[in-house]
């Protein structure tokens, strides 16, 4: 931060400028407006959560079913928690990005030249999202009543059928709660993407505002507004996933789940 910014720091615009900023349509539409940044932010977050789900869900189901690799899961989840995500991200940027030369561009999401930088942030976000999904899936399968599993096997189901038709539906409430806490963390952390060259997302406002704090359009009011939008986005997506959870979880399972209280994974701030 420049000395000019430090001096300006004493005269920060008040938080009353925040509603004014959010009420200005010019800040929402147009290039680099809130809507575009929200799109990018969701793009980074959703793709990371989907990839994490594709990795963690099958792995969690198999580990839960066979009981093998439990030690690995617990160790991985605890170990990853201690690694600061900012350090991991910047490590990947410095290490990987110079070796990535693909010219893939996606309008609005990956700008020209941005591919080399989107890969590190996606890897970091996927690594962030895997532990909650993995450990909840595994715990959910482990918690399935052995009598239910035996019934499935007694009906002549094969191992894979038991996993998909018995254990997975029964573990779904816990899987969903893992998915929800992973999504919350990823949306919050995707703010850091703006620290990487070429990338946007809502963190852009926060980082760009630092050098012009007193600027009423790009400074402190924009930073706080973008921060509030991130928090609201996280809550809205969580509510949507809660709705999905209601729709996909079998009613019988949900009722039994409600009686077993207090199993939702503790989310972490990011």
């Amino acid at each position: 931060m420049s000395t000019a910014a430090v001096i300006a720091d004493k005269f920060l615009p008040g938080l009353d400028r925040v509603p004014v900023w959010l009420n200005d349509p010019a800040n929402w539409t147009g290039p680099n407006g809130l809507l575009e940044r929200i799109g990018q932010h969701l793009g980074y977050s959703v793709s990371a959560v989907v990839v994490a789900l594709l990795i963690a869900l099958p792995l969690g189901l198999v580990i839960g079913h066979t009981g093998r690799g439990v030690f690995l899961v617990v160790g991985l989840a605890n170990g990853l928690r201690a690694v600061p995500i900012l350090g991991l991200l910047l490590l990947l940027v410095v290490w990987l990005s110079p070796h990535l030369h693909a010219r893939l561009t996606v309008p609005g999401l990956i700008p020209p030249g941005g591919f080399a930088y989107i890969v590190p942030i996606e890897i970091a976000l996927v690594l962030l999202a895997i532990p909650p999904i993995l450990s909840n899936t595994y715990a959910g399968v482990q918690a399935v009543d052995p009598a239910v599993r035996d019934a499935g096997e007694g009906m002549g189901m094969r191992g894979s059928q038991v996993i998909w038709q018995v254990e997975f539906p029964c573990a779904l409430p816990l899987v969903m709660s893992g998915l929800r806490s992973a999504t919350l963390q990823v949306i919050a952390t995707a703010t850091v993407a703006a620290y990487v060259p070429f990338l946007g997302g809502l963190g852009r406002f926060i980082l760009d505002g630092q050098d012009q704090l007193t600027n009423l359009r790009y400074g402190y009011p924009a930073m706080v507004s973008a921060g509030i939008v991130v928090a609201v986005l996280a809550v809205v997506v969580d509510l949507l996933l809660a709705l999905v959870q209601r729709l996909v979880v079998s009613r019988g399972v949900a009722e039994r789940y409600r009686r077993r209280r207090g199993v939702r994974a503790v989310p972490e701030p990011a």
Binding site: D9, L12, V18, A82, V94, W95, V230, A234, P269
Partner: protein, 216 residues
């Protein structure tokens, strides 16, 4: 990759950065625990206070740390670079995590145990401090371990807004495009997290020697 050259160049800063990182992670943990204990007790004592307290703290968790670091100056009237912002934000997260755990921990003490204490002539206060709280120590301690590890990692985020601490290594490494400082920083943060974790584990074992098996 040279891990030493950066450390040698910044040997003068390292002690200060480490100290800032340590107190920024540790102080919120202690203050947060001091606030969460009475709040958690309230939530376990008066059932109607449980849902609002747990919901409110749950919402706090959805706010990204970077956002909280920059909103707090506006709310508290502090300067944007002030480390107080980081300390307050981390305290809020610690309270958010612990209130529910303290409440659940205190409620989980069996009624038989509580009746036994009452029958022995314990007053309500003696029962709380002499029976309920010690029995809840392993549960609260487990929550404290999660909070400590996440606090240490969150301190590094503060380097984005320029608070000088060990997270500076990530920013410097990124600016210089060299891996050395970043790897140094990652090692430092993981070691720090392990030290905090170990100290809390030691504290739990000292305070609840009967619960050794449960912890292992």
């Amino acid at each position: 990759m040279n891990l030493w050259s950066y450390l040698q160049q910044h040997s003068g800063d390292l002690a200060g950065w480490t100290w800032t990182t340590v107190w920024l992670a540790a102080l919120p943990l202690l203050v947060g625990l001091a606030i969460a204990l009475p709040l958690g007790w309230l939530a376990s004592r008066l059932r109607w206070t449980y849902p609002p307290l747990v919901t409110a703290t749950g919402i706090l968790y959805t706010i990204p740390s970077l956002v909280l670091f920059i909103v707090l100056p506006g709310l508290l009237g502090t300067r944007i670079l002030d480390t107080v912002n980081v300390a307050v934000a981390l305290t809020a997260y610690t309270v958010a995590l612990l209130v529910r755990i303290v409440a659940d921990g205190l409620s989980s003490v069996s009624t038989t145990t509580l009746s036994a204490a009452s029958a022995m002539g314990y007053t309500a206060r003696q029962r709380l401090f002499g029976v309920q709280l010690p029995i809840a120590v392993p549960v609260i301690g487990a929550g404290l371990r999660v909070a400590a590890v996440s606090n240490v990692s969150l301190v590094s985020v503060a380097s984005i807004i320029g608070v000088p601490q060990l997270g500076r290594m990530f920013i410097d490494g990124s600016n210089l495009s060299t891996l050395g400082p970043i790897v140094d920083g990652l090692i430092a943060f993981v070691v720090l997290a392990l030290v905090f974790d170990g100290l809390i584990l030691l504290g739990i074992r000292t305070l609840s020697p009967w619960a050794k098996q449960a912890l292992a």
